[in-house]
C-alpha cells in the first residue's frame, strides 16, 4: 500500500533509496553522522594504525585533533580566527549591501540589466585568485585585500540571482495582480519582491561558499594573519596536522553558514519548505 502513498519520483528506486527517502529529519542527521564516523575511522585505520601513508603528508584524525589543541592552547587560533571572521563578515556585508539593491535594479530595468549584466558576468567568471595581486596593490598587506576578495567573490551570486528572480516572476501572477487592481508599487511589493526571495537565498548560499574561498585565497598569499596564513605557515614548517586542523575549521564555518542561511530562509520564507503529505 505504501507504494501508492509515496509522493515524488520513484524511478527505479531500490530498497536503500526508498529507505533513505523515507527517513525522518532526525534519521537523516543520524545517517549523516554515521557516514562521518565511518569515514574518520577508516582514515584513522589506514594512516594512523596501518601506516600505509606517511602521516606528514596526510595526518590521521587523531593528529589533526592534536594540531587543533596546539593551535588553541597557543592562542594562535583565536587571534587568527578573529581576523578572518572580521574580514569575512565585513566583506559579506558589503556584498549583500551592493548585491541586493543592484540586483533589484537590474531585475526592474532592462537598460540597467543590459549595461551591468555583461560586466557582472565577466568579473564573476574570472577566477578569484587572479584578482589577488591587484588587491594587494590596491589595499596593501593588511585586512583590506581579504575584505575585497570576500566581497567580490560573494557579490555576484547574490546580484545575479536577485536579478534572475525579479525577471522570472511568474507572468500569470503578475497578470492576477494587475486584474485585482495592484498599481506599479503594489505589484513590486506584493508580487515581484516575494517571488524573488527564494532566489535571494539561493544566491546567499552560493555566496557563503565563494566568500570563504575568496577569504582563504587572499590570506594564503598576502596576509600575515587569518586562517589562510595559519594554513600556509603550518604547511611550510611541515606541521601538516595544524594545517589540516585550520582547513577543517574553515570548512565547518562555510558549511555552518550555509545552514544558517537555510534556517533564516525557513523563517523568512516558510512557503518554500517542502510540502509534507
Amino acid at each position: 500500500m505504501s507504494a501508492f502513498l509515496a509522493s515524488g519520483p520513484n524511478l527505479g528506486r531500490g530498497g536503500v533509496g526508498a529507505w533513505l527517502a523515507g527517513l525522518s529529519p532526525r534519521g537523516k542527521v543520524l545517517v549523516l553522522a554515521g557516514e562521518v564516523v565511518v569515514m574518520l575511522a577508516l582514515w584513522q585505520l589506514v594512516v594512523g594504525v596501518l601506516g600505509w601513508i606517511n602521516p606528514v603528508f596526510f595526518p590521521p584524525p587523531s593528529a589533526i585533533w592534536q594540531g587543533f589543541l596546539e593551535l588553541w592552547s597557543s592562542g594562535v587560533l583565536a587571534t587568527n580566527a578573529l581576523v578572518s571572521l572580521q574580514a569575512w563578515l565585513t566583506g559579506f556585508a558589503i556584498a549583500v549591501g551592493i548585491g541586493i539593491p543592484l540586483g533589484l535594479l537590474m531585475g526592474t530595468s532592462l537598460p540597467v540589466d543590459r549595461v551591468v549584466g555583461p560586466i557582472a558576468w565577466t568579473i564573476y567568471a574570472t577566477p578569484t585568485i587572479a584578482y589577488q595581486p591587484l588587491a594587494k596593490a590596491w589595499f596593501g598587506f593588511g585586512i583590506g585585500p581579504v575584505i575585497f576578495l570576500v566581497a567580490i567573490s560573494a557579490v555576484f551570486p547574490i546580484l545575479l540571482n536577485v536579478a534572475a528572480g525579479m525577471r522570472t516572476t511568474n507572468p500569470s501572477i503578475i497578470r492576477a495582480g494587475t486584474v485585482f487592481g495592484a498599481g506599479r508599487f503594489q505589484l513590486y511589493r506584493s508580487v515581484y519582491l516575494p517571488s524573488t526571495v527564494p532566489f535571494l537565498f539561493a544566491g546567499l548560499r552560493q555566496a557563503v561558499v565563494l566568500a570563504t574561498i575568496g577569504m582563504v585565497v587572499a590570506e594564503l598569499t598576502g596576509s600575515a594573519q587569518g586562517m589562510g596564513a595559519v594554513i600556509i605557515r603550518a604547511a611550510n614548517t611541515y606541521q601538516t596536522d595544524q594545517a589540516f586542523a585550520a582547513i577543517a575549521l574553515v570548512v565547518v564555518w562555510s558549511v555552518g553558514m550555509t545552514q544558517v542561511v537555510t534556517l533564516v530562509e525557513r523563517w523568512v520564507a516558510p512557503w518554500t519548505r517542502k510540502a509534507r503529505r
Binding site: N170, S172, I173, R175, A176, G177, T178, V179, F180, G181, A182, Q186, S190, V191, P194, S195, V197, A269, P270, W271, A275, R277
Partner: protein, 277 residues
C-alpha cells in the same frame, strides 16, 4: 436534420452590462514584421445576471477576448463598454478566475483570498476579515485557511482562485477555462458548485471553455468562436432549466440536440486549427 437551434438576436430592449462592438485585437510580430490578427469584428451583448459561455478550439482568440474585457489587453479596433463605460483597464467591477489558478505561493489560503480585497478596496475598518472568511467558507475551504497553495490539490487551488474573485463582490466574473487543469471527477463536482454559487450570487459570468458539455451545462447562452481570425461564429440560447444536474441532463433531448449541433460547428474549426499549426 430538423433543429430548433437558431442564432439568437440580441434584444435591444434589455440593457446590456457588457457591450462589445466591432472588437479587434492584432499584434505586430517583431520577428517577421507581419500583423497577427487575434480577433476581428466581435460583437456581443451580455445582460446583467446572464451566464454566457464562450466555446471554441484552442488558439481561436477567446482568451484574448476575455483579456480585453478584463482590461488586460487594449483593443486595436472597436470598443468594449461595461455598464455603459468604456473599459480602460482592470476595475473592481470585474474579477478573473485563471486557468492556472495564478495564486501567490507565499500566501496562505486566507491571505490569497484577501488579495482580491486589499488591492482594490484597501483593508480599512474591521469588516474585511469576516468577508474573507465568508468567501473561504462559500467555496468550501474552511479549515484550510492557513495552508499554502502548494499543499493543496488543483481543485482546491481553483477554489481559492474563485474565492479571491468573488470576495470583492464584482458585478462580472470572467472565468478563463477555470476547470481546464482540474481532473475529470473534480471538474464535475466543481461545475455543479459554480452553477450553484453563481445562481446564489446573481453574478454576470463570461466563462471560457473548450468543452462542449461544459458550455451547455453552465451557459444561458453559448458564444461559439471560430479561428483565423478569432471571431464569433454563432450565439445559441441553451434554454435548459436550472438547476441542471450533470447526470439527468445527459439524457435531455435538448442537451443532445445542442451537443450535436455544437460538435458539427466545432469540428470544422478544430480541424482547421490543427492543420494550420
Amino acid at each position: 436534420m430538423t433543429t430548433t437551434i437558431e442564432p439568437t438576436e440580441d434584444e435591444a430592449s434589455a440593457p446590456s452590462l457588457i457591450s462589445v462592438r466591432g472588437l479587434g485585437v492584432s499584434y505586430d510580430v517583431a520577428r517577421t514584421g507581419e500583423k497577427l490578427v487575434a480577433i476581428e469584428g466581435v460583437d456581443l451583448d451580455v445582460r446583467e445576471g446572464e451566464f454566457v459561455t464562450v466555446l471554441g478550439p484552442s488558439g481561436c482568440g477567446k482568451t484574448t477576448f476575455m483579456n480585453v474585457i478584463a482590461g488586460l489587453v487594449k483593443p486595436s479596433a472597436g470598443k468594449v463598454l461595461v455598464a455603459g463605460e468604456p473599459v480602460t483597464g482592470p476595475g473592481p467591477d470585474r474579477a478573473v478566475v485563471f486557468q492556472d489558478y495564478a495564486l501567490l505561493p507565499w500566501r496562505t489560503v486566507f491571505d490569497n483570498v484577501r488579495f482580491g480585497l486589499e488591492m482594490q478596496k484597501g483593508l480599512k475598518g474591521s469588516g474585511w476579515r469576516d468577508r474573507v472568511q465568508e468567501a473561504v467558507e462559500l467555496v468550501g475551504l474552511s479549515g484550510f485557511e492557513h495552508a499554502y497553495p502548494r499543499e493543496l490539490s488543483g481543485g482546491m487551488q481553483q477554489r481559492v482562485g474563485l474565492a479571491r474573485a468573488i470576495v470583492a463582490e464584482p458585478r462580472i466574473l470572467l472565468m478563463d477555462e477555470p476547470l481546464g487543469a482540474v481532473d475529470a471527477l473534480t471538474r464535475e463536482v466543481m461545475r455543479a458548485e459554480i452553477e450553484k454559487l453563481i445562481a446564489a450570487t446573481g453574478k454576470t459570468v463570461l466563462f471560457i471553455t473548450h468543452s462542449i458539455e461544459e458550455a451547455i451545462l453552465l451557459g444561458d447562452r453559448i458564444v461559439v468562436f471560430k479561428s483565423h481570425p478569432g471571431a464569433v461564429k454563432e450565439v445559441i440560447e441553451t434554454g435548459l432549466e436550472r438547476p441542471r444536474s450533470e447526470r439527468s441532463i445527459q439524457s435531455d433531448p435538448r442537451f443532445l440536440e445542442l451537443r450535436d449541433h455544437l460538435w458539427d460547428a466545432l469540428q470544422g474549426e478544430a480541424t482547421a486549427a490543427a492543420v494550420s499549426k
